[in-house]
């Protein structure tokens, strides 16, 4: 008998090592592409990043120097407008689906959100072109924001719904039992309990649309100069990267790499900043 148990324990140890190895390998495979992309961006782009790149507008063809400052500002503006539209509407729809809706209409809203999630970004761009740009007769940061906002809605709505569904009913009942009105329970108890996941959803949607180029092509359009007016054509990093990358000039290629690096860094900074700000004030359950 001791032999049997020893054989078993060896087998168990071998399979244990195997599976830990497999899990470790899988995690490396998941991280590798991100590491490679980021590493390559740094390798290609870091050399072109300097003070001028961050503070100057693009130079005409043939002139050296210049930067993407206007595109950095433009992207910030367009993403800000997009978030102003996408985050409240997305969270609102998610709250409706999880907390207030019953029956067929909810199924319909959820189905619509899923379909919208699958709509190619260029189609969203065309729709916004037809609905906002054409009536206004000009390109604008605002229309770009609308396009990105629309693209953010389904992701945020569905994650908000899922996160709210994970909040135990006992928490809602605790608040209702204290005589807290339904709307306040939803806003200050249920949504607050789910806030971590909801914020993750919003950040995912934000990061995803931050790199979108197609919907901006015929909405924000791009601009070679500074622009602070949301009603005017505006530069955006993805547009600028696209324009420079397909150009025949080596200098512009280098700037495109630098722009791509800046874009990734900005997304990481924005996401971390939101996480940092929102994680304060809320207690963690095991704090």
């Amino acid at each position: 008998m001791p032999n049997v148990s020893r054989r078993l324990s060896i087998r168990r140890r071998v399979s244990n090592v195997c599976f830990i190895g497999l899990a470790g390998l899988a995690s490396i495979l998941v991280l590798a592409p991100l590491g490679l992309i980021f590493g390559y961006l740094v390798y290609k782009g870091i050399g072109s990043i300097n003070w001028a790149f961050l503070t100057h507008t693009p130079r005409p063809v043939g002139e050296a120097g210049g930067g993407m400052a206007n595109a950095i500002l433009g992207s910030t503006m367009i993403l800000g407008l997009g978030s102003l539209i996408g985050v409240p509407l997305g969270i609102g729809a998610g709250v409706y689906m999880a907390e207030f809706g019953h029956g067929r209409y909810v199924t319909f809203v959820r189905f619509t959100a899923d379909v919208l999630n699958g709509v190619p970004s260029i189609v969203v761009g065309i729709a916004v072109y037809a609905l906002v740009v054409l009536p206004q007769q000009h390109f604008s940061a605002f229309s770009g924001g609308v396009a990105l906002g629309i693209m953010m809605i389904p992701t945020i709505a569905r994650t908000t719904e899922e996160m709210l569904r994970m909040v135990p009913n006992t928490i809602r009942e605790a608040a209702l039992g204290l005589g807290v009105p339904q709307w306040r329970t939803t806003l200050q108890v249920t949504l607050r309990t789910a806030s971590k996941g909801v914020i993750t959803g919003a950040m995912l949607a934000f990061a995803r649309v931050a790199g979108e180029t197609a919907p901006l092509l015929f909405t924000a359009f791009g601009n070679q100069f500074w622009n602070l007016n949301p009603n005017q054509p505006t530069a955006a990093l993805p547009l600028q990267i696209f324009a420079y990358a397909i150009s025949p000039f080596a200098e512009w290629h280098r700037q495109a790499w630098a722009g791509a690096l800046i874009l990734i860094v900005l997304i990481v900074v924005a996401v971390s900043a939101v996480r940092f700000v929102t994680s304060r004030g809320n207690m963690q359950s095991n704090a």
Binding site: E173, G177, M283
Partner: protein, 253 residues
């Protein structure tokens, strides 16, 4: 001071299933009343009808009337939120708000109802935690620790403090000790005993000994009907209904 309750012809349904049938009962003020009976007999539904929590379940409905003190809680035009504000409830599983500190949990009822004066909140939090016999254990970590970091028994006393902070006229407890160990249960029972000086308490319990220990009156429910309701002593020694006797002595349920 606590208030009395008068329930008349109460029927309750979930969808088509009738879970309470013709309940008539008068509960005295400043007493502890236990509701006992086998699982699924309608005990929980019954006390959820006393603060209009029954109706938050989709497809739930009821008929009949419930008078709590001078308030007819199902009168037309009576606001359910106002009813719940005046009637506290403690649930089966401790359910502190997980994102809030101990202090915020106790203050939640007041804050979410619009009270924000710092000094009044401080006083109310301390008073409620003292009432719930939790103050000494948490007074140094009020704002540092979250409600859900406490032990199960402490969490349940926190929930009691939270319910007391809004100064209800009636306290409903739905199997408050079912998730707790005997020591924590003992503390809660002692607390219930003290609470009846100021509150009317209705407690649902699965535990016969608990009913016998804490309750002045006991009602026995079976299949949605109130079979017998009397002084606890009478129910446990000389019940007048055969079914009560069978249940008390453990012959079914």
């Amino acid at each position: 001071m606590g208030v009395g309750i008068e329930v008349k012809d109460l029927n309750a349904w979930f969808g088509k299933a009738q879970v309470l049938k013709e309940i008539n009962i008068k509960v005295g003020a400043n007493a502890v009343t236990a509701v006992v009976g086998p699982s699924g007999c309608g005990k929980s539904t019954f006390i959820r009808c006393l603060n209009r929590m029954h109706e938050i379940v989709p497809e739930a409905r009821l008929t009949g009337s419930v008078q709590v003190g001078d308030m007819d809680i199902y009168a037309s035009g009576q606001d359910a939120v106002d009813v719940r504000r005046r009637i506290g409830m403690v649930f089966q599983k401790p359910n502190p708000f997980p994102t809030m500190s101990i202090y915020d949990n106790v203050a939640a009822g007041l804050r979410l109802n619009g009270y924000n004066k710092r000094r009044e909140l401080d006083a109310s939090v301390e008073h409620s935690l003292r009432m719930a016999a939790l103050w000494d254990e948490v007074k140094d970590v009020l704002k540092k620790k979250s409600g859900s970091s406490l032990s199960g028994g402490q969490q349940q006393r926190l929930c009691i403090a939270r319910a007391l902070a809004v100064q209800p006229e009636l306290l409903l407890m739905d199997e408050p000790c079912s998730a707790l160990d005997p020591i924590a249960t003992g503390k809660i029972e002692e607390l219930i005993f003290q609470l009846k000086a100021q509150y009317t308490v209705v407690i649902v319990t699965h535990n016969m000994q608990q009913a016998a220990r804490v309750a002045d009156f006991t009602g026995f429910f079976l299949m949605g009907k109130l079979i017998e309701y009397d002084k606890t002593e009478k129910i446990f020694t000389t019940p007048s209904d055969k079914r009560t006797e069978d249940y008390i002595t453990g012959r079914f349920g």
